[in-house]
């Protein structure tokens, strides 16, 4: 599903390498934690996977696409198959919960009653159905994160990326968000979660944990 092969990444506006010589093979259906201290390169790895950054050296393949050579016009299709959860949510703050959750479905071409029904089903799964018409921007951090997760799950993508999905949340909300990611994993999705919260690791049995230090892998273990 995801293959990093001797991949290195340097940001053009910054000296030094954000990632150095990363080689890893992530199979379909795995649940993977990316851990490591701040600045280790966790977010950079995720951004490379959904095509927001390009590799500087080496190769990266995601579901058959070679991200070093991908054409700009092919990136939207890649992204429609990847659900992304950001630490800062990236919701459309002025839009309602329903609008936010329905957006990826609309982008994927769904319209009308089918769209509403699908969005309602997702909101039910994350316990937000009664807040469907609330403005996303006016909700609590935990609720917003659940909206963000719902949006990422909406189209049922085969790959889910989550960057510090519990960073701002209290333990209850964090556990709730992890439960949603685990549900998706059990439904067959490949899940990558970047975090420096060691408490999360205990929540997923059998998960793989890749530890990054200063842009290099320092550990690859199964919990």
């Amino acid at each position: 599903m995801i293959i990093f092969d001797k991949l290195s990444k340097r940001y053009h506006n910054k000296a030094g390498w954000a990632l150095t010589d990363i080689s890893v093979h992530i199979s379909p259906g795995q649940f993977v934690f990316l851990t490591g201290p701040s600045g280790a390169g966790k977010s950079t790895m995720l951004r490379l996977i959904y095509g927001a950054e390009l590799p500087s050296r080496g190769t990266l393949r995601v579901g058959g696409a070679d991200l070093g050579r991908i054409k700009a016009g092919q990136i939207p299709r890649l992204r429609r198959n990847i659900g992304v959860v950001f630490q800062d949510f990236r919701l459309s703050a002025g839009g309602t919960v329903l609008e936010n959750v329905a957006l990826p479905l609309h982008v994927a071409g769904m319209r009308g009653k089918k769209l509403i029904a699908a969005a309602a089903e997702i909101m039910r799964r994350v316990n937000l159905l009664d807040k469907a018409q609330c403005r996303a921007g006016s909700m609590s951090g935990g609720e917003q994160q659940r909206v963000a997760v719902a949006r990422a799950l909406a189209t049922g993508p085969p790959l889910l990326l989550a960057d510090e999905p519990t960073g701002n949340l209290d333990p209850d909300n964090a556990r709730e968000v992890m439960r949603l990611l685990l549900d998706a994993h059990q439904a067959g999705a490949t899940v990558l979660v970047a975090t420096h919260d060691p408490l999360l690791l205990g929540l997923v049995k059998g998960a793989r944990c890749l530890h990054l230090t200063q842009g290099r892998f320092s550990m690859d273990e199964t919990l």
């Binding site: 977010s43 995720l46 951004r47 959904y50 927001a52 950054e53 016009g73 990136i75 939207p76 299709r77 890649l78 992204r79 429609r80 198959n81 990847i82 992304v84 950001f86 990236r90 919701l91 459309s92 703050a93 957006l103 990826p104 982008v107 994927a108 949006r151 960057d163």
Partner: protein
């Protein structure tokens, strides 16, 4: 969208103004062209026939001339025809009321083909010996074509300038509209929205603005055409030069031009924002 309304209103007004000015240019050119057309019809030469020639001979001479390659058209006018025309031209003045005998000669009106010089034609005509006198009715006729070409050139240049102004207005409003929805666009980009999906609302907006601006500017022009002749201070030549109604081509051209500018502007405007670095 709600806060956008103000922006839209400003955009549509500016576009309407641009189109209105452009329409004035078109209208002036249209009127001048029509005016030139009106005065350039009619004979270039008048062949005065000797009084001995009767109407049948005159008419057959006109027919014979019609066959000449230099001649675009030729027409026999009997003295009575000439009088009738004078009467029409001066209307109710009845200038000719008291005349016992028609003083006008029979003539043939000849319009020459575009590149024939009147002198060469007159020389050939002299060989026939049937014409008493050749009067060059409109010696400045040849200049008319040059004037018309000049007017078209000026119209084209001015429209080009207005088109650039229009493109500037469109691209600026689009840049603003895109900026207002920047967050939304970045989210859409991340969700894998295709290029057309993201551009669609801007394209629709540009087309809607163009249609509204086309409508408003045309209404303005039409109002101008109807109102100007009613004002007491309006000089006669201006009233005479204005067409009776707004020629249907003008709203069409204006709207089409704005739609084109809008399409280009919205396409480029969105491209620009998508080149922003991802801030993930």
């Amino acid at each position: 969208m709600g806060g956008n309304l103000w922006l839209q209103a400003v955009a549509v007004s500016t576009l309407s103004l641009c189109l209105f000015i452009m329409g004035l240019i078109f209208l002036a050119s249209f009127s001048l062209d029509g005016f030139l057309n009106r005065i350039s019809t009619g004979a270039a030469l008048r062949l005065v026939l000797p009084s001995g020639l009767n109407a049948r001979e005159g008419a057959s001479l006109a027919l014979a001339l019609q066959e000449w390659p230099e001649v675009r058209s030729s027409r026999y006018l009997s003295p009575q025809d000439g009088l009738g025309r004078l009467g029409r031209r001066f209307g109710s003045l009845n200038l000719l009321e008291g005349l016992e005998e028609n003083p006008l000669p029979a003539i043939i009106e000849v319009e020459l083909a575009a590149d024939v010089s009147p002198d060469a034609f007159t020389a050939r005509l002299a060989g026939l010996g049937e014409v008493a006198e050749v009067v060059e009715a409109r010696p400045w006729l040849q200049r008319l074509e040059q004037i018309r070409r000049l007017i078209r050139l000026i119209t084209f240049a001015l429209s080009l300038v207005m088109f650039l102004a229009l493109a500037l207005v469109v691209s600026n409003t689009m840049r603003l509209a895109v900026y207002v929805r920047r967050e939304q666009l970045i989210i859409l980009d991340m969700l894998g929205a295709g290029r057309f999906y993201m551009r669609e609302p801007f394209i629709l907006e540009a087309i809607l603005q163009a249609l509204l601006a086309g409508l408003f500017s045309s209404l303005g022009l039409a109002a101008l055409i109807y109102i100007i002749p009613l004002l007491p201070e309006t000089p006669l030549w201006l009233s005479a030069a204005l067409p009776l109604g707004l020629p249907w081509e003008i709203p069409l051209y204006l709207t089409a031009i704005n739609v084109l500018a809008g399409l280009a502007g919205s396409w480029l405007g969105v491209s620009r924002i998508l080149r922003l670095p991802d801030v993930a």
